[in-house]
Subunit: 318 residues, 2 copies
């Protein structure tokens, strides 16, 4: 099985939404990413935890086939995030961030990790992201994410990083902030000129837009009846996307890239159905595939009366 | 050619957006609807104008093949709307509404109009919408739209109307307001229980969601680089949808309904590219068809490695 190295946070999240709350539950970008990508590829997590990180989380992740050899335990407490979502599910309010051991995070790859063909640099300091990339031995596929904090505080480091990645994942508001453009499409165009061949703008409940060369592809989110907790949806999306794409071994094929988008939105749609990683932990490949197939079918618009490539209606009737 | 009767407003709009402004330009729900639907069906406008309605607008609409025999001129001034859009293009701020002759609007259909097989009741007082429906002779397809003003002020009349329509178009925020639900999908489910077989939730730049029976179909908006003026996008969408669906004569076929959605989003994407009805007036069928074809192609997700209906990856590799 092909492998992906993911560098990012492993956290204990406390989240309140209109549907309830979770206390010190498993979270973090590298965790959500791994739980999504594991369906398609061998995932190695490079991250840091404190002495208080519950053993059962480690066990669960290992049982799901996720390689934790790069998960370092340091003296101190695990990174914690406290947040809240109101009616607008795309707008997380951060109530508290306790970096704890994450403040001392200096990712150092093992020889095996350095040889990985694919690496995902989740949302961390762009200088740290670059230091990981410096350690990699000429990988085939490099992708990254970021957030408004780094866009504001380290724009130059981020720009230097973007020149070195193939795929950039970014949410809608952050893409506009970074590019100073007012539409997602304009933003993606500007950012793609800085380096990334593929720019994926994540729009939460509204799906995602992918820019590849001169073309762009918009996909809706899979419609879910109720969203319990959107935490981690973006990282889950990236995990589904990168996991699937890695498994194809052909990263330029537009069919592969479109299926990657759809595996991303499908996995994200499961993730939001429950708090923390609960739904992702229990997700069976058959349920994932059924929802993916349903999306493919829903989006398929068959030929029909006066439809594609036939004679044009008005002209034909004259 | 099949025909549609549309009952709604004919207006002179003054609109300011971040890209510029228009003064007393052609607008109104029945106008946007007609300019979109004309590509597929014969459209008859039932509406009212004042003595000041510019002759060139009448001439342009007639030249586009739109039947204005139901457009009544009354003493007084034409309906005027003054509005403004900020960064959030889904949020029109109404600065002024001058109903003028529209306050006296009492639609009275001619015998030919009463026999139309298809009717679209654009956003007006639900009691007026019902009075039009009362005059129709057993039409095959009835669709309507509404707005927050009627949802708040005449909820019972609106509910009675919904029990009599096949297709209900409603925007995202209004669907949630009407149904007291927090997601578009939940809202569509609740509303569909009140009568409409098809509920279409319009989400502006984020596309639209269609609920048909137990299934729902989300489509993205066609990605446009810059939105000059979103005025009328919802009515343009409904015009493209209803025009195409009318032309197929099979209103239950899911392929027809999906293509209707895509003609709706395609026509709306043209409309927002310029102020007022400018882009719709000049739109050639070939350009419309090319963008429609591009959307069909973008949304088509081909089979591929570990993709639909094949053996499941992990299972297969064990």
């Amino acid at each position: 099985m092909d492998s992906i190295v993911v560098v990012g946070s492993v956290a204990l999240d406390s989240v309140k939404t209109l549907c309830g709350e979770s206390q010190e539950a498993l979270g973090g970008s590298a965790v959500y990413f791994s739980l999504a990508a594991r369906h398609f590829a061998r995932v190695t997590v490079v991250g840091v935890i404190g002495k208080d990180f519950p053993k059962e989380h480690r066990r669960m992740l290992a049982e799901k086939g996720i390689d934790l050899s790069g998960l370092k335990e340091l003296p101190g407490k695990t990174f914690r995030w406290v947040g809240k979502f109101g009616r607008d599910l795309s707008d997380a309010k951060t109530l508290a961030t306790h970096l704890n051991v994450f403040a001392k995070f200096k990712p150092k790859l093992t020889p095996a990790q350095k040889r990985s063909r694919v690496v995902f640099l989740a949302n961390i300091d762009p200088d740290l992201q670059a230091s990981v990339l410096d350690q990699m031995q000429n990988p085939d596929l490099v992708a990254c994410d970021t957030m408004n904090y780094w866009i504001m505080s380290k724009p130059d480091a981020l720009r230097r990083l973007l020149a070195r990645v193939h795929i950039f994942f970014v949410n809608d508001a952050e893409a506009k902030l970074l590019s100073r453009q007012s539409t997602a499409l304009h933003a993606a165009r500007v950012i793609s000129q800085w380096g990334p061949q593929v720019v994926v703008v994540k729009k939460g409940e509204h799906g995602a837009l992918m820019k590849v060369g001169e073309r762009s592809y918009a996909f809706p989110a899979y419609p879910v009846e109720s969203v319990k907790d959107p935490t981690g949806a973006g990282d889950t999306f990236a995990g589904g996307f990168m996991g699937y794409l890695t498994s194809t071994r052909d990263y330029d094929d537009i069919g592969n890239l479109k299926r990657a988008m759809l595996y991303g939105t499908t996995l994200a749609s499961f993730n939001v159905e429950d708090f923390s990683t609960r739904r992702l932990e229990n997700l069976q490949r058959t349920a994932l595939q059924a929802r993916f197939d349903e999306s493919v079918d829903s989006l398929h618009v068959p030929h029909g009366p006066f439809s594609t490539r036939g004679p044009l209606l008005r002209e034909a009737r004259r």
